[in-house]
């Protein structure tokens, strides 16, 4: 198997996560091939529909399975996973089917997103150049996690390899666009964070009562289109916050 993600031969690994969980990891740090492998492997486990597997998820570089160890033994499940891992080169897997491309209106900077200035400075850019760079980037949902419907997006150009802040900010609002370490997080809940708050959107990523409660899916692509504070205010009535989507060809 090609080890495109990590130069060591250690990956993929299978580790336990509690008595009823297994974690199949394709790298120790985020990379495009490891992320593809995690998404594709999790999708294949779902398709396989093994008896005793109760829930699956993908994270940035891993696929996770929760199962009932009283009905599906660890050794049996591990052997099946090993066999599936060897069946193909997961690092070269295609991205998920049915991906969408989203354009999400975003106010960069202003008092709605007060950390654009310091993030731009850390990336060695003036604010206007930073807005251009961030709004032109077409990023991909690498995983949904932490809070309901909340995407981790990447990968941004090298210049944005800036650290998370050591101190957490106060609560950032729902719809905040934050960045660090060449990734963006679009927050679905209000929470304190160490990520730098560079943009504000009106999108509601998780609406429990809606027909489609979770808007984004892993593999979707996103572009953050600049807009003004007043226009954004007008979009707050729309649960999608003015966002539009089309299928990725």
């Amino acid at each position: 198997m090609t080890q495109a993600a990590d130069t060591t031969d250690a990956f993929p690994t299978i580790r336990t996560a509690g008595v009823d969980g297994l974690l199949v990891s394709f790298g120790s740090r985020l990379s495009e091939p490891a992320n593809r492998a995690a998404l594709a492997f999790r999708a294949e486990i779902e398709r396989a529909g093994w008896d005793g597997v109760e829930e699956t998820a993908s994270s940035l570089v891993s696929a996770f399975l929760r199962f009932d160890p009283l009905h599906l033994g660890h050794a049996v499940l591990r052997a099946r996973i090993e066999q599936l891992l060897q069946s193909r080169d997961w690092y070269a897997a295609d991205l998920p089917e049915g991906r969408r491309f989203w354009r999400i209106p975003t106010v960069f900077g202003t008092d709605l997103a007060p950390q654009l200035g310091q993030a731009a400075e850390a990336a060695g850019m003036r604010e206007d150049a930073a807005i251009r760079a961030l709004s032109e980037a077409r990023v991909r949902v690498q995983t949904i996690g932490f809070a309901p419907g909340q995407p981790y997006l990447g990968e941004l150009p090298e210049a944005w390899d800036i650290p998370r802040q050591s101190q957490l900010t106060g609560r950032i609002p729902v719809g905040a666009l934050c960045l660090a370490i060449r990734q963006m997080v679009l927050f679905s809940v209000s929470t304190p964070t160490g990520w730098q708050h560079v943009g504000q959107t009106a999108i509601r990523l998780f609406q429990p009562e809606a027909e489609e409660p979770f808007l984004l899916r892993p593999g979707d692509e996103v572009q953050f289109v600049p807009t003004g504070p007043e226009a954004l205010e007008g979009m707050r009535k729309d649960p999608r916050g003015g966002a539009e989507s089309e299928p990725v060809q």
Binding site: G18, V19, G21, L23, F64, L70, T143, P148, V189, P208
Partner: protein, 336 residues
Amino acid sequence: MTTLRILRAGPGVTLQDMGRSGYLDVGLSRGGAADRLALAEGAALLRQAPECAALEMAGMGGEFEADADLRIALTGAPMRAALDGVALAWHASHLMPAGARLSIGPVRSGCYGYLHVGGGFAAPNCLGAQSAHLSAGIGNALSEGDTLEIGPDGGGETGLLLEPEDRFDGGTIRIVASAQTDLFSAADLARLESEPFHRSRRANRMGVALKPEGGGFHLETGRNLVSEVVVPGDIQITGDGTPFVLMAECQTTGGYPRIGTVLPCDLPRVAQAPAGAELRFRFVDLDAAVALERAEADRRSALGKARRPLIRDPHRMPDLLSYQLISGVVAGTETD
């Protein structure tokens, strides 16, 4: 349809069932009752499915009234309970006549008490469960004036008691190695088993912070771990070295290293440990862990056989003659 009206409620009263499965991949953790054993006990007492939701009461209870006769069961952390001023036994089922006032006070030990109703609550499902998941914005904490509809009850005996597993004051917690256990030094792993921990005041349905007696735990390497799936029971070591046990309503991913994972069968003991209670951890291997889970599953499915009638002591029931003993309302002071 029978309705339960909330006349007064503590700040942490929510509807909880076994939670929602299948949404981990979109960032929503299962949630559900902090003490799932209590749900099984309530179901056994009322002879109904353990999937029925119950009112989870964190620390404080409330006052309740129903508009029709209702079977109820009280489980989890023992709380002071009375029906129209007459004390009720905890860990037991009772008949609550229409219009009677059920008062539930603060916990006497443990953290989470549960009020179950015959027929179960008929609240609408959201994403496959009735559970409130407050950190995700699903459902609400219940308060004065709220009403809850109750499903049709097939009926059955009340006045039954279950001797609960004593899990309301800390104790020994069995854990298994997690994906990151081997990032920790042998010395820290030894400390984890040899030192007592005390539950800190920082605890809720998302997680429980622990105070290690010998100071924080620290990783020499691996501070920059990629964010990974986390599960209830994981013991995260946060930036300042504090161990944090993740609970039912935890986030779905985290970047802190995890030193071990609590067995699901011991998680109720962590959830119910009151502030200051002593907890000790003991690693078991995977085979032993599965065997312990199997034993617990067997024990839970046999709970129905462990029910026994409440013992009534006429000497402690001064108004004995006013009772219709058949209806199952008893003094309740005799059991604890």
